[in-house]
C-alpha cells in the first residue's frame, strides 16, 4: 500500500497553499483601492501570481496523474472517502476556474494580462464592461467558495490528526529525515 506523497507533491502542495493565501489576501485588499500607481502595480502582481498559480495547478495535476497519491486510511467509511475525493476534486476545479475567470474578467474590462509585463496572454473576450462586472462577481464568489472548501480541507486534516489520530496530515508535512525513502 502506497503510504507516501513524493517530496515534489508535498512541495507543490505547500507552495500552492502559500501562494493562494497571498493572492487571496491581496485580492481582498486591492479590490476597492483608489486609483494610484500602487493599485496598478498590485493588480499586475495579483494577475502574474494568478497565472503562476494556474501553471502550478497544471503541474500538480500532471504530477498527481503520473505519481499515484497515497491511499486513504482503511479506517475511513465509504461516505467519508467519497467526501474526501469530492473535496479534493472541488479544490482542483476551483484552482483552475479562479485564474481563468480572473483572466477573462481582465479581458472583458479591457486590460490585457501581460505575464510579468513581458508575455502577453491573448484576450479571449472583447472589451465589454457589463460582462467584466459579471466576471468580477463570479471571480469573487468562486474565491469565497474556495476559502470555504479550504477551511473544510484544513478542518478535515486536523480531524484526521487530532481525532482519528492517523497519518493523513503528517504525511503531507515537509519531511525531516524520518522517512525511510529519503531520496524520493
Amino acid at each position: 500500500m502506497n503510504q507516501q506523497y513524493t517530496r515534489t507533491a508535498i512541495g507543490l502542495h505547500w507552495l500552492m497553499a502559500g501562494l493562494l493565501a497571498v493572492i487571496f489576501g491581496v485580492g481582498i485588499y486591492m479590490h476597492d483601492l483608489p486609483l494610484s500607481p500602487w493599485k496598478l502595480q498590485i493588480y499586475s502582481w495579483h494577475k502574474w501570481a494568478g497565472v503562476t498559480a494556474f501553471l502550478l495547478v497544471l503541474l500538480r495535476l500532471g504530477w498527481r496523474f503520473s505519481h499515484r497519491p497515497p491511499d486513504l486510511p482503511s479506517t475511513m467509511s465509504r461516505p467519508t472517502r467519497l467526501a474526501a475525493h469530492a473535496g479534493h476534486a472541488l479544490l482542483y476545479l476551483l484552482m483552475i476556474a479562479i485564474p481563468l475567470t480572473g483572466w477573462l474578467m481582465s479581458s472583458a474590462k479591457g486590460f490585457q494580462t501581460v505575464y510579468f509585463g513581458v508575455l502577453p496572454i491573448p484576450d479571449l473576450l472583447a472589451k465589454d464592461p457589463a460582462l467584466g462586472d459579471l466576471l468580477r462577481d463570479i471571480h469573487a464568489t468562486l474565491n469565497f467558495l474556495l476559502a470555504a472548501v479550504v477551511a473544510g480541507h484544513v478542518a478535515a486534516a486536523l480531524k484526521h490528526h487530532l481525532i482519528d489520530r492517523d497519518d493523513v496530515l503528517r504525511r503531507m508535512l515537509p519531511r525531516r529525515g524520518r522517512q525511510p525513502n529519503r531520496n524520493s
Binding site: P37, Y43, G110, P129
Partner: protein, 190 residues
C-alpha cells in the same frame, strides 16, 4: 481686335473663377462623426487604448497645393475615454489634464511637406495643459470622390506636457510614451 481679345480673356477668367468651386479639390470640412482620434499607452507593460470623442477642426487642404494647407485641431480633453470610468475621472484631475484650467488641447499646423504618393510630413505646434511643443507627424492622404481620408500616427512624451504629475510622474507604472493615431475624414462641402 484688342477689344475682342480682352473680352475673350475676361470671359475665360470668369469661367475659370466659376469652375474653381466645381473642381471641389480644396477640402474644408472635417467630418468629426466619421473621424477617430485614439491613443495607446503602456500601463505595467500592458497596452491600453483610449480615445477622444469630441474635437473640432478647421481645415484648408488642396491636394494640388499641399504646401498652402492650413489646419487647426481643438480637442475637448473632457471627452477622454481612457479605458475605464475610474481612469477617466483621474485624467480630469490636476495631476493629469487638469481640465478645469485647461479644457482643450490645440494643434496648429505650420508646414506641410509633400513626400510623394499622397504622403506628407506635417509640422506644427501642439499645446496641452498650457505647454506648447513642436510636433512632426507623417500623414497619408487617401482621396475619395467627395473628399478624402487623412491618417497618421505619432508618439508624444506625456512628461513634456506635465500629464501625470506627482505620484504618476514615474514612468514605471504608466510609460512616458503615448502613441496617438488619427483618422480624419474631410470633405469639400461646407
Amino acid at each position: 481686335m484688342t477689344q475682342a481679345i480682352r473680352s475673350l480673356l475676361q470671359t475665360a477668367a470668369i469661367a475659370a473663377l466659376a469652375l474653381t468651386p466645381a473642381r471641389a479639390a480644396e477640402l474644408t470640412t472635417v467630418r468629426t462623426d466619421q473621424s477617430r482620434l485614439i491613443f495607446v499607452y503602456q500601463q505595467m507593460g500592458v497596452p491600453v487604448e483610449g480615445a477622444f470623442t469630441r474635437f473640432s477642426a478647421q481645415l484648408l487642404f488642396d491636394p494640388a497645393a499641399p504646401n498652402a494647407a492650413k489646419a487647426v485641431l481643438d480637442l475637448d480633453l473632457t471627452s477622454v475615454d481612457a479605458g475605464s470610468p475610474e481612469a477617466n475621472d483621474e485624467l480630469a484631475s490636476k495631476l493629469w489634464f487638469d481640465t478645469k484650467r485647461f479644457p482643450t488641447a490645440r494643434f496648429v499646423a505650420e508646414r506641410v511637406t509633400a513626400l510623394g504618393d499622397h504622403r506628407y510630413e506635417l509640422r506644427g505646434k501642439i499645446t496641452i495643459k498650457g505647454r506648447t511643443r513642436d510636433l512632426t507627424t507623417p500623414v497619408t492622404f487617401t482621396p475619395a470622390s467627395d473628399g478624402g481620408l487623412f491618417e497618421g500616427a505619432f508618439t508624444l512624451q506625456r512628461a513634456d506636457f506635465a500629464i501625470g504629475e506627482g505620484i504618476w510622474a514615474d514612468f514605471g507604472t504608466v510609460a512616458n510614451e503615448v502613441q496617438v493615431k488619427f483618422r480624419f475624414v474631410a470633405t469639400a462641402a461646407k
